[in-house]
């Protein structure tokens, strides 16, 4: 590692330093800047250091202006070094915080990230805190590491190796004492040696899983050299840095071999097989040769024991130099996908029950097959595997038993994913002793507890099926019932605390609408907007929200609280009854106790919510009256700001603005004279007529329009 001078320990001036290496992010840095401004940790408790690695876009000036106007932001400009190692080191050296949080320039932090990470770090005396990372863009991924909080994780036991991104919080003195820094200059995989070394040296590694801390935007056009084509030879040169760290910190033996096996497969064999469909034979050949050379040099045969069966087969082909065999196997493996047929979705006692036929199939749709023989289960590959492959790698007995079939609910806005294990019953034999990898699966979940014991927050959730038969894990969007009308509820919803309605998206997939988000969330795809609004058993339009009396309801700040006074219709209650008020905005929700008193014509609900948990923005409001009562939205929203008075706005939010040139008033977006119900009726008619041939449908439409005109005048 490059020499960090471990001079006398500097006392920390702030709790956390956020270090951000920056190179030509353009507008992609704005969400990060916003998310830093919205942190619930007071600005005086943390600093942000942007280290600009010679950007050539308008970023340097933008950051300078930001730093000039924001006391807790610093900018360091350095000549371009070509990769993020050097700017990160410069930032760590300049940091004055007790902890250093590394963030990349186009990612985002959850609003409460720094506050929670720091509190967790202090509570556990952590050297490293791994906060839950959520991917935005690309396929979703749920690391098993984040299934629960792990205040003291053990490297080698807890599944830490899966999470080698540097997006973590490190105790600054810890990095300095152990001289842990990044390799500098344009080299790949610079984060692995750094994070590995930190994991090896740390006394306490803590994993914070109960809050999405880090939003990782995986973009194709990531800045720096990311878009460059891989030079395999180079790549494996840099991988040697990582392997060096493993060898430096481990004795020969199990742990070392397991770590080596991890890199051999995940960055080597697995990668090579996955790229088969996307690369030319010449590119694959280069990759093959480079990996083979590395294997001969750095991965002794003892490593292979720690590979799962298929990876062992890949390794056998590689070590034997059987390029064609490995490519053929790779083609089969990478074509494996999810097989799924939705049977039904029903809601019984507010519990969802989703039944589907699921499994894994090959590219042609035929199911994977296993042979049961002498108490063991063997994979029957659809092709002849090359001669170097030993028969024992086909023994899937252990793997087959550990298969997992899951349903995933992914929040469209926060990208947070909740998994539900299915109860899977394998379909019967196709021939004596031959079992298809196909299951009659029932997934059950209670929307009140499915989010790690918590209710689903208001949002639209896309539903996926994930099937794991290690080494193959495949996921796919759950397809709706054949012929299910788009944007319509698939079944009755549940409506305990929240209204949860499954519906079919315009692309024929299943999604869940929680608390009418398809209606309320302006960011939700316009397409899905009417999903649940037009009748059926779906939730009603948002007007269902409780009316708030305008003349006596208000909000004000009072010391460090925002005090809310809401006058609602309602029968007399016992004075002083306990209630709860919940404010919600994007991924954040703040809930507080409220008191209820009688008032003229209704009730008065009063709550004081912590102002520092309510960063600038528009918050929707819901009230729960009494123990166990469901939260009901009220027709009001709270506008918070650091520069303007706090405002309670009653009624429903208006939409859209109009801009006209000289002498012209642009029309508001609604078609004039067509009230909502009429446009809705029109859409319903359109749908009904959809079953007719176009010419006939047009005639009907015309006749209906004429009738409507006569009736309405």
């Amino acid at each position: 590692m490059t020499g960090a001078e471990a001079g006398p320990a500097q006392p920390a001036k702030v709790k956390v330093s956020v270090v951000v290496p920056v190179f030509n992010p353009g507008g992609h840095i704005d969400p990060l800047i916003r998310s830093l401004a919205e942190q619930t940790m007071p600005a005086s408790d943390f600093e942000t250091i942007f280290v600009d690695d010679g950007s050539t876009d308008d970023t340097p000036g933008k950051l300078d202006r930001l730093a000039a106007s924001t006391p807790n932001v610093r900018v360091i400009h350095t000549p371009g070094s070509g990769w993020s190692g050097r700017p990160r080191n410069i930032g760590i050296d300049a940091a004055e915080g007790e902890y250093v949080q590394l963030v990349d320039h186009d990612d985002e932090l959850g609003t409460e990230a720094l506050e929670r990470l720091y509190a967790y770090a202090v509570a556990n005396g952590s050297d490293v805190v791994v906060g839950k990372e959520v991917r935005k863009g690309g396929a979703w991924h749920v690391a098993p590491l984040f299934d629960k909080n792990r205040p003291r994780a053990t490297f080698g036991k807890d599944p830490l190796v899966g999470i080698m991104t540097p997006h973590k919080m490190f105790r600054r003195e810890f990095l300095n004492e152990h001289h842990i820094r990044f390799f500098e200059g344009p080299r790949r995989m610079e984060d692995h040696p750094f994070v590995l070394e930190a994991f090896f040296c740390a006394d306490v590694i803590s994993v914070l899983s109960d809050y999405p801390v880090y939003y990782w935007h995986r973009r194709a056009d990531r800045g720096n050299a990311g878009a460059r084509a891989y030079e395999w030879a180079d790549f494996y040169v840099y991988m040697r840095d990582t392997l060096d760290v493993i060898e430096r910190y481990t004795e020969p033996g199990d742990l070392r071999d397991r770590l080596l096996a991890f890199y051999y497969d995940s960055k080597g064999l697995g990668w090579l097989t996955r790229s088969v469909p996307h690369r030319t034979p010449a590119e694959l050949r280069k990759h093959f040769d480079a990996l083979r050379e590395l294997a001969q040099e750095r991965f002794p045969p003892s490593v292979d024991i720690h590979l799962h069966g298929m990876a062992r087969a890949r390794s056998q082909l590689l070590r034997a130099g059987d390029f064609e065999g490995l490519v053929a196997l790779g083609a089969v493996e990478s074509a494996i996908g999810v097989h799924q047929e939705l049977v039904e979705i029903e809601v019984v006692d507010d519990t969802f029950r989703v039944r589907a036929i699921t499994g894994l199939c090959y590219g042609d749709g035929s199911p994977l097959q296993f042979q049961v023989d002498g108490g063991r289960t063997w994979w029957r590959p659809p092709i002849e595997l090359g001669s170097p492959v030993s028969h024992d790698v086909l023994d899937f007995s252990a793997v087959h038993g550990r298969r997992r079939i899951e349903l995933a609910l992914r929040n469209r806005r926060s990208h947070d994913v909740h998994l539900i294990s299915g109860d899977a019953e394998q379909m019967t034999e196709e021939a004596p002793g031959i079992l298809p990898f196909t299951f009659d699966t029932v997934f059950e979940f209670d929307p009140e507890t499915v989010a790690g014991g918590q209710p689903l927050e208001p949002a639209v959730y896309d539903v996926f099926v994930r099937v794991t038969c290690s080494p193959w894990r495949r996921q796919a969007p759950l397809q709706s019932l054949p012929g299910a009308p788009q944007r319509r509820p698939l079944s009755r919803g549940s409506r305990a605390t929240h209204s949860v309605v499954p519906f079919t998206t315009p692309s024929g997939r299943v999604a869940l609408d929680v608390d009418h988000q398809t209606l309320i969330d302006q960011e939700a795809e316009m397409n899905d907007r009417e999903a649940t609004s037009t009748g059926g058993n779906g939730p009603g339009p948002k007007d269902q929200a409780v009316v708030v009396e305008v003349t006596s309801s208000y909000a004000r700040r009072s010391a460090d609280r925002v005090r809310l006074v809401l006058h609602l219709p309602g029968a007399g209650t016992s004075d002083g009854q306990r209630a709860r008020v919940r404010l919600q905005r994007a991924q954040s929700a703040v809930t507080g106790d409220a008191t209820v008193t009688d008032a003229i014509g209704g009730i008065r609900v009063e709550a004081g919510l912590p102002a520092d948990r309510l960063p600038s923005g528009t918050w929707s409001i819901a009230v729960s009256l009494g123990q166990g009562e469901r939260f009901q939205r009220v027709q009001a929203r709270l506008l918070t700001s650091t520069t303007r008075p706090v405002a309670l706005l009653t009624g429903s939010a208006p939409r859209g603005s109009a801009s006209g040139g000289s002498g012209r008033v642009a029309q508001p977006p609604k078609a004039p004279g067509h009230p909502d119900w009429m446009r809705r009726a029109g859409r319903q008619v359109d749908r009904a007529l959809g079953v007719l041939p176009p010419a006939q449908a047009a005639r009907c439409r015309k006749a209906l329009r004429a009738t409507a005109r006569r009736m309405l005048g």
Binding site: T551, Y554, P654, G661, V665
Partner: protein, 251 residues
Amino acid sequence: MLRHELLSRLHELLSPRTYLEIGVQTGRSITLSRTSTIGVDPAFSVINEVSCDLQLVRSTSDEFFARKAPLAHFPEPVIDLAFIDGMHLSEYALRDLINVERHTHPASVIVLDDMLPRHVDEAGRGREAAKKRRAWAGDVYKVVSTVRALRPDLVCLEMDTAPTGTLVLLAPDASSNALIDAYDDVVEEYVVPDPQTVPEEVLRRTRAMDPAQFLAAPVWPDLRRLRQLPAGRAAPEVRRVLASAGLRTPD
């Protein structure tokens, strides 16, 4: 003089580069503008002809000001003339004033409507009592005493217009925090059940000025000229011009 006439004459005399109107409704007041204009109303239904470069925003004023660059439609993000006539509850009007003033220059003029109701019935927070009188002014008159108490630096002129009286504020100070600092306590005093106790001075318009006399004051060319100066240099000049024309907050 009708309040729309006052507004119309102000447009002529000031020839503002920009005009912001909160509360547009049918467009009866915005139709008077000939300059770059933003109108804000969550439920406008404009029926009047409009002859200006107009952006019509379908939003509450609070949400409008919460936007990133609310005044982006203007050639410059400064309000030369503002007409505050939105939600007729005092806390809303006070917020509108606070938010508008942030975007003004010392030579800007702020007009608030319905500040001098004619009867207690008209000045309720609820509209019930006002129904028998056809007009509802609301309790926005409370802003007058707040401004008089907290902003001695502002020139605060009540205008004897018909039907309800208006308030004209001169020499605004975009950097003043006096109102926003007091806002949270003031709200508590504002939100009280009807009927309201409207001060005699308001109902009887004892401090109100004849709008014709105000419009005749020899300040308009100076205000137009001073708009060109940076705020820091313009502020004392504006005060001097107003004082020598005898325009000051009456006792």
